[in-house]
């Protein structure tokens, strides 16, 4: 399907006045209207120019905001006959290291502290770079995007641990584990970053005004 070569070195659908359905991959003519649907499956087709970055930005901001309570609110309330304690993510990691399980502490630290932070940082960087139309090192940024897409799901580890413990350790007055409000915030952060990552269109990195 050779057509007249555009001005750019790389031809894009957009430069040819075409769009592709994100669901069924059907390539269609874009026409003049801003609001389009797939001719085959009816999925709304969003042109990047109409602000594909907006969703990512909104979700990222929400995740950043919720990151604060996810780290300050307790994620787990442990009550035994002797004592009652509330742990945040960081205090839990510290407790693990203190009691000698430094390997476990490291895993939790990486999964629950480092990865979400890294994701937030990378996403912020990507969004900023697209917004500010930076042109350098587009290849490296794309690689970063792939990376956060892969590791993102691992940060749900803490949520699973708390969920399991809260379900299993219900020994009445002897010992009891309950999920704290922090785990909700933390889960929301993870979910929001996942969604934000998905909504980010890496093609934007390559797009230049």
């Amino acid at each position: 399907m050779t057509t007249a070569a555009p001005d750019d070195a790389v031809a894009t659908l957009r430069s040819r006045g075409l769009v592709q359905c994100p669901a069924c991959q059907l390539v269609m003519g874009a026409g003049a209207a801003a609001e389009l649907r797939c001719a085959r499956c009816g999925t709304p087709v969003v042109l990047r120019t109409s602000g594909g970055l907006g969703t990512t930005t909104a979700l990222l901001l929400a995740a950043l905001v919720l990151y604060v309570p996810s780290n300050t609110l307790p994620i787990m309330a442990t009550r035994s006959g002797l004592e009652a304690r509330n742990d945040t993510i960081v205090s839990g990691v510290i407790e693990l290291v203190h009691t000698g399980s430094w390997l476990l502490g490291l895993i939790v630290f990486v999964a629950s502290v480092l990865i979400p932070l890294f994701k937030l940082a990378v996403l912020s960087y990507l969004v900023l770079s697209v917004r500010l139309r930076w042109s350098h090192d587009a290849r490296g940024r794309t690689r970063l995007y792939r990376l956060i897409e892969v590791i993102g799901r691992w940060s749900m580890l803490d949520v699973f641990v708390v969920g399991l413990l809260a379900a299993l350790v219900q020994l009445g007055p002897a010992a009891q584990v309950q999920a704290g409000p922090g785990v909700v915030a933390f889960g929301a952060v993870v979910w929001l970053t996942l969604w934000a990552t998905r909504s980010f269109d890496p093609r934007l990195i390559w797009e230049r005004a």
């Binding site: 399907m1 057509t3 075409l18 769009v19 059907l26 390539v27 269609m28 003519g29 874009a30 026409g31 209207a33 609001e35 389009l36 649907r37 797939c38 001719a39 085959r40 009816g42 709304p44 087709v45 969003v46 109409s50 602000g51 907006g54 969703t55 909104a58 979700l59 901001l61 929400a62 995740a63 905001v65 919720l66 604060v68 309570p69 609110l73 006959g81 002797l82 004592e83 304690r85 409000p181 929301a188 929001l192």
Partner: protein, 558 residues
């Protein structure tokens, strides 16, 4: 553009609402900001002030773990424990919740709750497992709020909102009382000891006690408090008494109180009223001063066995008690005398028999009441002239307890004494029965001392020696008498028998009996006379056996 025909055209989908998905997505960060903002606001609102508490030691307190609890509700947590700058205590920093704000006022009290045993109660057992916590009892005055507190070393006995009244007791000794010791009213536990303080001069103790509502209304101005600690064994003129309060009081001590019956309806005493803590129930329930009259009776004899509190009896009826026993030197008689202070109960009075009521009622009674004859009138000058005296008497010979008896002594009637005149409260005394006995015994002893016992003894010894000799002589006499007299008496009897036989022979022969018989009878009569003379002579003069017959004993006419 032939290929273009193969490419379908995307459907134009006009905007159905004013909100596109791209715009709606911004609701999510808005929501997140809202939630976080609300959480932050909540946190900011619910976090109360940070307070510092100073304790002597931080035993059992851990930063980040130890809670501050009010009625077992968490109101805060200890954030930090550090040494006080002067190193004489510890400073505990606690983050309080907003709910605690009204509790943090001037008279708020904080203390460390540990397991402890006091006042017969075990408290804080749960802290053995869960660790100590800091108890807080909010102030009530609602005054200025405060952030720096001085912690109590012992938990306060009461919550500040417990209703009741606080009183003060002055005691001379603490006994086995301690903070938390129970207060009993008729052995019902109605309160507690809040605190004990030594007075600055060190002479007395001030006890702060608390009586719970509704029993606090039973404490009136006239109420008496006494030590109910342990056993109360008393030996008095009435014998031996043993008194105990409840078993708890025996073990941990306590205070009892009672209000003696009053004429006026009792009005509850004001909070903080000061009372005296008596040593025993007996001393506590003694009549108050306004119900007694003070008299003095000065005794010259020993007051041994007369104790303070001993009864004063009028013909066996208790009318008062001994308040004090003193000693004085009376230069007039050059002797020590013992003025004994008597408290005579004013409220006791004899009821006057109806027919005598008219003349006797002049001074005493209120209209409507039966006529009363107050005891003050008994102790009058007129009575003294009739022989009224005070006397020490023994009530219990085993324990030697004595009491003061007031009685009429008819033999002392008419003696003019200057006692019990107007205003004078001196009851004349007479020597007690012991004293009299002692005096007469000493008189006897004096007389006995005048007897020359040495001389009497020498005489007696001499007498005994001569008596001894006389006895010896008599013995010899009797022996000789036996040796000499009996053979001759036998001869006489033999003669007599022979004579009788002859008479019998004569009678048998039937010979001229009368003449011979009369001769024989004469002989017999003579023999009998001689025998009688001999017997009489021996009887009269036994020494004749020894010394021979004295001349003419028969001169003495018969």
């Amino acid at each position: 553009m032939a290929d273009d025909d193969a490419i379908p055209q995307a459907i134009e989908a006009p905007r159905r609402s004013r909100w596109s998905a791209a715009q709606a997505i911004w609701l999510i960060p808005l929501l997140a900001v809202g939630i976080v903002g609300w959480l932050a606001l909540n946190e900011w609102l619910s976090s109360g002030p940070t307070i510092t508490i100073r304790f002597r030691s931080a035993e059992g307190i851990e930063a980040g773990k130890t809670r501050v609890k009010y009625r077992d509700v968490d109101l805060g947590v200890v954030k930090q424990v550090r040494l006080a700058p002067d190193r004489k205590g510890v400073i505990v920093v606690a983050q309080m919740e907003a709910d605690a704000r009204p509790l943090l006022v001037r008279d708020t009290r904080l203390w460390i709750v540990r397991a402890r045993l006091s006042g017969g109660e075990v408290s804080g057992l749960s802290t053995l497992l869960s660790g100590s916590y800091i108890g807080i009892d909010g102030g009530t005055d609602g005054g200025e709020s405060r952030r720096d507190f001085e912690g109590l070393e012992t938990p306060p006995v009461l919550n500040s909102d417990e209703s009741g009244r606080e009183f003060r007791l002055t005691a001379s000794t603490l006994g086995s009382l301690e903070v938390g010791s129970p207060i009993f009213l008729r052995r019902v536990r109605v309160g507690q000891v809040l605190g004990t303080d030594l007075d600055p001069d060190g002479r007395n103790l001030t006890l702060r006690i608390f009586v719970r509502a509704p029993y606090d209304r039973l404490v009136t101005a006239n109420t008496r408090f006494w030590h109910a600690s342990g056993l109360d064994v008393s030996v008095d003129a009435g014998g031996v008494r043993l008194r105990t309060e409840s078993l708890l009081a025996v073990v941990v001590g306590g205070i009892s109180f009672e209000t003696p019956p009053e004429a006026a309806p009792p009005t509850p005493a004001a909070s903080g009223t000061r009372y005296t803590l008596f040593d025993s129930q007996a001393s506590a329930l003694r009549r108050p001063d306004w119900q007694t009259l003070e008299y003095t009776a000065t005794f010259v004899d020993s007051v041994r066995g007369l104790a303070v509190g001993a009864p004063v009896e009028f013909k066996g009826f208790v009318i008062g008690e001994v308040a004090a026993v003193d000693i004085e030197f009376d230069p007039a008689i050059l002797r020590f005398v013992f003025p004994v202070k008597l408290r005579i109960y004013r409220d006791l009075a004899a009821t006057v028999a109806p027919q005598a009521a008219a003349p006797a009622a002049r001074g005493a009674s209120a209209p409507g009441n039966p006529a009363r004859f107050p005891l003050e009138q008994l102790l009058s000058r007129r009575s003294v002239e009739r022989g009224l005296r005070a006397q020490l008497r023994s009530s219990n010979l085993i324990t030697g307890q004595r009491y003061v008896a007031i009685d009429f002594f008819p033999e002392l009637r008419g003696e003019k004494l200057n006692h019990l005149g107007s205003g004078a409260h001196e009851i004349p005394t007479t020597r007690d029965s012991f004293g009299e006995l002692e005096a007469s015994v000493s008189r006897i002893v004096k007389k006995l001392e005048a007897v020359p016992f040495d001389q009497v003894a020498a005489d007696l010894q001499r007498t005994l020696a001569s008596l001894d000799r006389a006895v010896n002589t008599t013995e010899q006499t009797v022996q000789r008498f036996g040796a000499e007299l009996i053979p001759s008496a036998k001869a006489v009897l033999d003669d007599a028998r022979r004579t009788i036989e002859e008479v019998r022979a004569l009678a048998a022969q039937g010979q001229p009996l009368p003449q011979q018989a009369s001769t024989a009878l004469r002989d017999l009569s003579r023999a009998a006379d001689a025998l009688r003379d001999l017997a009489e002579a021996i009887e009269r003069q036994p020494e004749s056996l020894l010394r021979g017959r004295r001349a003419a004993p028969a001169e003495v006419p018969r």
